[in-house]
Subunit: 298 residues, 2 copies
């Protein structure tokens, strides 16, 4: 027996499974819902629910981390969705990177039935999820966030409340803009260094030591140099995030040409069949001198 809140979890992907593991280990009673059969086998101790609504009826706290905003909308607001079953006084937390406007809409719908809601997208990747060292960006009322904190603090180390519902999503999107444009910069720098006949390792030594240095550069540059396109963080997810940035930006009457260009180039990467590769696959959107060495120039 435990006094810890019952956690209902939706989204057992590469991130979700690692995150839920920490809450189960902490002693929370665990419930799960999954569309695909077999996925819940990883948590034999969990109560399995047939619908998100049924899971919510069992839960004190429902946490979701699914794919696209459309999935979030269906899981939260659909006919068998979380809010169709959630008990008054319960709490819902969406950790998906999703639309700020949708997060605000969910919070409104939740408030109307006496449920607290926070948006709490995360960054740090599978390694951060595994080590419970995620960065968590929260939007919600002070009351809702105070309730979510003890749970989220089991998943991450940098946990910042950014403002009202949707503000967590906005902060995550700002993060992804930096990531996307940083990938563009390191990709074009790599391309230039390669075309100039430089040794990638020495260039990294130079760049890493100065103001151009970053963890992203130190992680991604060697992968680009080695032709290692394994994810990490997938092209299709960054395309989604940059699309959220542009949509929310347009709604706020700002334009971001760098973000738009980056998304467009990632669309070229996806069109070439690399949607499931890591974001370092951006280099495949460019013609490279190595290709031209066997080319057809007269």
């Amino acid at each position: 027996m435990t006094d810890l809140p019952r956690i209902g979890w939706i989204g057992l992907g590469i991130m979700g499974e690692r995150m839920l593991r920490h809450l189960a280990a902490a002693g929370h009673p665990i419930g799960v819902y999954a569309r695909r059969p077999g996925v819940t086998d990883a948590f034999p101790e969990a109560t399995v629910a047939a619908t998100p609504a049924a899971l919510a009826a069992w839960s004190d706290v429902v946490i979701t981390i699914v794919g696209e905003p459309a999935d979030v909308e269906q899981v939260m607001l659909g006919p068998d969705g979380v809010l169709a079953g959630a008990r008054p006084g319960s709490l819902v937390i969406d950790c998906t990177t999703s639309s700020p406007a949708l997060a605000a809409r969910i919070a409104d719908a939740a408030a109307a039935i006496g449920v607290d809601a926070v948006d709490a997208p995360v960054s740090g990747g599978p390694a951060g999820a595994e080590r419970a060292s995620l960065s968590v960006m929260i939007g919600g009322t002070d009351t809702a966030v105070a309730r979510a904190m003890p749970i989220l603090s089991r998943l991450g180390t940098t946990i910042v409340h950014h403002g009202p519902p949707g503000a967590g999503q906005s902060a995550k999107i700002a993060n992804q803009i930096v990531v996307g444009l940083s990938m563009l910069g390191l990709t074009e720098a790599f391309l230039f260094a390669e075309a100039s006949g430089l040794d990638p390792e020495r260039v990294l030594e130079t760049l890493g030591a100065g103001i151009a240095g970053s963890d992203l550069l130190r992680v991604m540059w060697p992968k680009v140099a080695a032709g290692d396109l394994e994810p990490g963080f997938r092209v299709e997810h960054l395309i989604k995030d940059l699309g959220l940035a542009l949509d929310a930006g347009h709604a706020a009457t700002i334009t971001m040409p760098g973000t738009a260009l980056t998304r467009e180039l990632y669309h070229a990467v996806r069109a070439a069949g690399h949607a499931g590769r890591g974001t370092q696959a951006l280099i495949t959107a460019y013609d490279r001198p190595a290709d031209r060495a066997v080319g057809t120039e007269p």
Copy 2:
């Protein structure tokens, strides 16, 4: 009396003066040439030459750090230039961020008269110059670089030989591509965060803790938030560097749309009168919601 080589210096700007100070303090006999009168007063102990050629005739080693590639060309290859006066067996080092092709041309011209030449652009800014902690990117023959090393090691801490003449310039340009695109990313992320009503300090806390974090972000984000456009590193210099990137890239048959877009936006900053501001002035190229709050929308 000293056995240390005589250093002839051309370029006593914000970087050059700080760099030369270390060599003077180490005991090198110092000579200077400057176009503008009075500039050399900062080094009363120095031998003052009337032309670059005359300076080179006095010097064992000539070091240049001037503005644009056109300045480098004139100072090195012009009628009264360094190579018109340099003694066989002497060494010339260009620390300007300049064209890789020009660096190769200078090295060829130098070799023809028995002079060694290296390109050795630096990064780290005035603070790095002051602390002798610059990152130095070198191109040149092994012989020339071995001769330059004892001198350059008094100016910087990360000193990497990237390849033949021009390779130092290529590495520096790769560095500037990363810097330029990183500025674009943090600028659009800031704009997005601002339009979303987020607190810039909290967003920096979140971004700085994860894979989006970098020294550049930590230095520049607070300046953008405070509207502090003081240089640092000037808009006009980054425009030059990104132009070098595109020119050298085109010569190597690569295209870099992100670099081109970034340069174009910096041209807009320059057109608005901000050429002498710091690179964080990129935000002035964008319409901001704060401007629109007092706007004319019906």
